[in-house]
Symmetry: C4
Subunit: 214 residues, 4 copies
């Protein structure tokens, strides 16, 4: 049987590689020629790439944190869980590519800029669906160390699904205003950085042996 | 001596990097010019890359799952096992490259499309041979925690070799119909996602300390 | 709750990928044509890339060592610590890209060469700020296994902040002399390789169960 | 203090990324145009890349195996050991780049083909020097679980240094015959795959709790 440690190690590896590849999108073209322009020119025109990099970096970082809070509470690892985890990772590894596309096309404006941010929103939505599926699966009988009481399951569901809904809104908003849609994805990241604990995590926390000051 | 944990950690790392690199094949070219076309045009013409990405992602994911079910049952780590594991990884790391070639050449049709899928099939066949060699090795006396009984060894062998045979068929089929051959590799992935447990895994499962509901 | 082991595993993964990607900056262009010149010509003109590679490799390596000395002393992992760690990694993963830019632009001279090294200095400064934030956080009550005595906290602060100050100097120096600024970042790396133990590390060392000869 | 597990995890990550990046050298160019030629043409002209890939893959794999046999016997982790380990990794991560250069330039013949293989030999020599330094360090008093008896130290030294000498020969041989020099590096890899155990490893083996049949 696959134990939880293995699932975590593999997922950690994928998260680590994906978050590191994000930075490659900021690479400038080689020495100046008539097409690329000077380094100063290139750096000055990468504002969309910087914004997308920052948003994606913290989005992946937060998903990594929440993934572990969720998984650390799971006591059985089934094939179904492994499959749901693969669905999550399927979208996580697409984030560097989608981020690069936003950085390339957003400054150009027009339909392609909107499409680039919409694709970015679709990837984040998919990631959120993958995460919610794991959370939903974990609500099943006997699957977590500290089970969520039945009367609180809907509250938990609403909580972890709301992120996905906002990402869906981003997909639509992108076709109205691409920069606004990207900005909204940044706000989601900021929100999750400061949000103390998701419902499922709070329960897991209270069951942990160590205190968490601050 | 190399312990099993080390073998698993290294293999996990390779699987994680390979599965993440898969996504890089979906990267679109930079801002539109007369050669690349618009983003919408590029995204619309990547159907082969999307299909190949999905199939390869789940194929690598499944091999990772089966690799760990197999290895977790092994009690001694010899140089021969490490070597066989390297042969498996030799083909696993080729999957992103072969997947990219399928995405690039399949939409063009002609002989190159067939050749691209055939090469993809060869890489998957090699991966399957590597996996089967480890499984075969694990049938030896005293090498696994829960040995496979002698009268069930041929059943086990047939089972883990059948995947390799289907991949060989894909190599041949590619020269008749490249899309059909790629589709067959997708069916293999779907089959393995839903297949409950391989013979060797089932035995390992029954020896594990924890229950696996679902 | 996220345990320390998870934080370390994820950070290790990011450090390992970032340090490996550094080498890709040394890749030469394909077979000779009138633009790239011969292999001998290319290798001979990569001196800046070699220097930047060496400096960045040991800089990342040293930060990895110091990160673990610091983190191994921490007993509670809070969301704030995870966030500060993400800030550190945000800059660590930028190092390969910034190193590549130095290698490409430094030999060209002019303003772009200065800008390239200044950007490199900014990334190293950011990394240092991230590291100092974690160190500062660890000075809080009950957060470390072996607390730093109150009367020694300012000494510790000055120590781990001095690296950041030198990197800031490099940013400014880059606009006067780009090679001198790069050279200074190399001296910082050499200094940290030979420096026995940072203040916080020394305390952690004395609490460890094993002796460290040499 | 850094414990051995951390050193191994970081090194494992670097080895895993480096061995996976090797495969990227086999990527063919996109759909056929007048410059790249057909897929069949490209695949047929990559023989040097295939050979270099195979040799490098097993070389890195073997070094990974030997690294762990060596490190698993070490009981104290000092800053000096971490530094020597970084020197080893400095060359390990260069192997994918050097392998790609061999694949690109060897088929072209002439001085650049010789230079490409010589550079490859220099990288392997550096890796070997890094490995030998760790082995030499481990001969010091009280640094290994099972110390090498004083009268056998020179035998051990000769053994782990002989690999480096062969790699030095490869550097020289490259300027006489590039294919012969590459072939010799392949023979070294084959030799190490089949060699039962290096001197230091044998001693570590005999102290391990488990039997190693085969």
């Amino acid at each position: 049987m696959i134990d939880r440690g293995r699932l975590e190690a593999f997922s950690d590896g994928v998260f680590a590689v994906a978050i590191t590849l994000l930075a490659l999108n900021l690479a400038v073209k080689g020495p100046p020629d008539e097409i690329n322009g000077t380094l100063a020119y290139q750096l000055g025109h990468q504002w969309a790439a910087y914004a997308a990099y920052l948003i994606s970096f913290f989005t992946v970082g937060i998903i990594w944190v929440n993934h572990h809070i969720l998984v650390s509470n799971i006591v059985v690892v089934t094939r179904m869980l492994l499959f749901l985890n693969l669905v999550l990772l399927l979208f996580v590894v697409l984030i560097p590519v989608a981020t690069g596309t936003v950085g390339d096309y957003l400054p150009k404006g027009g339909f392609d800029a909107k499409l680039a941010v919409a694709v970015y929103g679709i990837v984040l939505t998919g990631m959120s669906v993958g995460f919610s599926s794991i959370a939903e699966w974990s609500l099943g009988e006997g699957r977590t160390r500290v089970p969520v009481p039945p009367d609180r399951r809907w509250a938990a569901r609403i909580r972890f699904m709301s992120g996905g809904l906002v990402y869906l809104v981003i997909v639509g908003l992108a076709f109205i205003s691409a920069p606004a849609a990207l900005g909204l994805s940044g706000l989601v990241a900021v929100y999750y950085v400061f949000e103390r604990t998701p419902t499922l995590g709070k329960i897991a926390d209270s069951a942990s042996d160590q205190d968490t000051p601050s």
